[in-house]
Subunit: 304 residues, 4 copies
């Protein structure tokens, strides 16, 4: 496809029938969202997203830097993680930050890992220093194939073979199709990660089937591919103006999009700051979810 | 205008008459380039670029990271700077890095400043430690209005009022119109900087008239505005397909472009690395130009 | 002197007489501190610190990363700044961050500047967007002589000549003598900055006399010079053990200290994080002080 | 011990007998060095360094930033790596960067990894794009226990269980005892890594015995512990001056050293730049060693 999106809401919106797809509006701590379920194989193939549950929260707090909203998004995320991830003391939750930390649009995953409150080593090696409200959490940013020469999936499977892991939370930067979605949708799913998803088209497949434990995938769109932007603009323009047949419009738009450079991405100029904020929101959500009533302030002084 | 470019080659190419514009191909150290002269007021207004001389070097070395080419670009730049800037021991050349260092696409200027070999303080306060091949160079990154609350022009005028400056070299990140120009054109001009130029639409005006000494402006395109990309795609598409009148096509394209977010920019995903490389090339060019046969290796050990 | 300190509390403690020095304990928002006044020229020369008022707050919150304490320190700092700095709408307060941002122990000043809420440009150029609670604030990090070739004092005097400045707040990294002071004392003084102070022995002199407006200097110790550490250890050891005369002990200690490398500094291993936290605390203090009841949350969304 | 060093040359120098230790001067590309062999268990226990071979190169190029020397050090390192590491196409060499990248003195390992030319993924997944001079190399920075909650050794063993590894090269920041060694000694050993070594006292043990493949350890001293500095200064001073018995001197010095803060380290102020240079030198050495005549320039454009 000339355009691509990692967002279920965008993938589903092109599908007018919506057979096999259940979608409902939700609202948590004042943050609006959508819960989508892809119910069967047929819907899965039609919209190109795996069968399972997808929750997304929508906000314009990041682009306006409304920092008081941040904590509400983190809390909404935390509630959903709690439903999906069985945190405990004896087995550990592994948080995986996918992506290349040296490339801002692809760095959300590694940035989240830096803000995760890890406790596995305390519970394991220093049990006397452990707070009884802690569950076991560990975290790694395995890097990307082009930088390490290693498949992220192999690194993670290696870790799991040496450690008692009960669930995995994978964070990745996403690509959206519409500019208004960028840094505005936090998506969470129990379907894991498929090859080709995320910024940079990672080859990784991490799902309950391949790994053996629940895999929650989470992310926020940090880019739109320039080709998507041009394609969408062209389709809108042509249908609006020329009155040509749908197929001709599509063909013309597709040709147009391929003129723009393959690897060009569209981002807000302030991406450095917004990406950092997003990573903090996601990490806070995970930190709130995985332990029992440890406040973010307590966590920050523990983390030093 | 819905689209904008800081490149003379792009501004001139829309102008079929080229009256009052002199353009010739050049080649230095194997690097191809163009020298454009805007000869009169009328041409200046037509293409929206100040009267004066513009040299640009074109290369695809940055996008392919062909580091052996880098030194050739630096040498080509150095030769042109030497023609325009009268370096000496008793008066100083001030290198100004415009832009916001916390925003990668706008950070070329401040990054160049970090790589400039400054010598003014040695010649002034430690003359015994000075190498006789040194001329006097100083450098500052004044920040952007939104971060400092100060006009860059005021900071620079303030410095000039306290220091004997014989010429200014201003570095700024540029916006291009065509994706193939991004990080591929190094532009140098003796016309200074106009308000509205550069990434982030700086308000600064720095010219020989306002400052009293020669002002050389230099930069490389780090972004295309998303609206330009969409506009150009739309024009191409419409003229190609619909056969409508030129005015109608323009109107439609203009409408289209305004749909895309105002502040969205198109960049290569690897901008963090490419921007760093570009800044090094420019700084090396300046360092080679302003002193008398001090090699880049010598400069690096001096700079510590 | 073989050892040096920028802290008045350390400078005063070596002086057993304390003639001409008034010192009293203070406490604000639960943070303990000391207010020292150097009352006359004679005391000034004896302890090597300019006549005037010095306020310091002491805390171990940074080394234990007790983030809930941070806001209390900021509020305590804010109260003291309010007493010394006459913020207003028509003239601006200039915040100056001294130091080299590429050298962590010397980077507090530039890091504070990045967190200052600047408003001068809004009040000046966009008065309709101004909040009536804002006073005029601007900020600059002029860099260090070795990097810019320019005296910071000249850059600042230049800015003042182009702008209506009513007061200056200068931030600089300090050197302490005792390891327990590192990142534990926030010092504020109305005496300005003297040459030789700060990490890196800056040559700058910024005082009310040289500049013409009140100059408040503020900082936190980020290093101890290795020679100070060795000197103090040696003096303690020798007086404790050998029973030699005071002069001999001093001579021996002095000899010892000069063996260690001139430019070596002692820091906590975690200096990167602690320095960032300190800069945030100081910036928050300034931001709270200079406007009228604008909360830190409001400021953060304004600052984007 | 109150003081510690990771350098064999410092560990051996306290041992006047040198029984079971073979030491000889070497010189490569103009860089002077020492080759030490710990020949038996008894010598191993006496000096606290594992039986095996240690090569160190000494240079003051980093502290004077003599960049022309850098390539010579890299070449000298490359020659020694070649003798110890059997690079090939079918099995991969794993480069491991130990340490915490957010803490400059402990960040050498992760910084080296960023500069390693990895090829395993090309040889494995894109054999047509492979250069025949390439051998298989991969690289990872597993993070530190306090940040990931995972033992580095477990992460590495996990990777080895999923990948055909023929040798491991582990990079770590080292602690020295004498200030003149800091950033001046590049050490290479075939003995692997022991628990407690490196900056931050890592718990990791990585040796041929525990891993099953050759483990080469390599590093450069980035810190001296403040306690070592004070201890050494005190011993020198006391023996010089007081004429007391050796035991008394030691006791006094030991007491002195414990006064200084446990976690304080001594570094050059310019550590940020010097650490980056060191990492580049080590990475270049590894890159030159592991492939067959691929130049550093070629590698740089491959690495993009």
């Amino acid at each position: 496809m000339i355009f691509r999106t990692d967002l279920i809401t965008e993938a589903a919106e092109v599908d007018s029938s919506l057979t096999g797809i259940k979608s409902e509006k939700i609202k948590k701590y004042g943050i609006k969202g959508t819960q989508v379920e892809v119910l069967n194989k047929e819907a899965e193939e039609r919209i190109g997203k795996r069968q399972g549950k997808y929750i997304s929260f929508e906000t314009d707090a990041l682009l306006s830097r409304d920092t008081e909203e941040y904590i509400k998004i983190s809390k909404a995320i935390a509630d959903e993680i709690k439903k999906l991830v069985p945190a405990e003391k004896d087995k550990t939750v592994l948080v995986v930050g996918l992506g290349n930390e040296s490339m801002t649009p692809d760095s959300i995953g590694p940035m989240v890992v830096k803000n995760i409150f890890v406790t596995r080593h305390i519970l394991e090696y220093l049990p006397n220093e452990a707070d009884e409200r802690m569950n076991s959490v560990c975290a790694i940013a395995p890097g990307v194939l082009g930088v390490t020469g290693l498949e992220s999936a192999d690194v993670i499977k290696g870790i799991i073979s040496k450690t008692q892991v009960c669930a995995i939370i994978v964070i990745d930067a996403l690509a959206a199709r519409r500019s208004e979605r960028m840094f505005s949708t936090f998506q969470l799913t129990d379907t894991g990660i498929e090859p080709g998803a995320g910024v940079g088209n990672k080859r990784i497949a991490l799902t309950k089937e391949t790994i053996g434990v629940p895999v929650i995938a989470m992310g926020v769109p940090t880019v739109i591919y320039a080709s998507s932007l041009v394609y969408d603009a062209a389709v809108d323009l042509l249908s609006d103006i020329t009155g040509q047949s749908e197929q001709k419009v599509e063909d013309a738009a597709r040709k147009m999009a391929s003129f723009s450079m393959e690897d060009m991405v569209v981002t807000p100029k302030e991406i450095d700051i917004i990406a950092k904020d997003s990573a903090k929101i996601i990490a806070d959500g995970i930190n709130l979810a995985l332990h029992n009533n440890i406040s973010l302030n307590e966590i920050q002084s523990y983390m030093f």
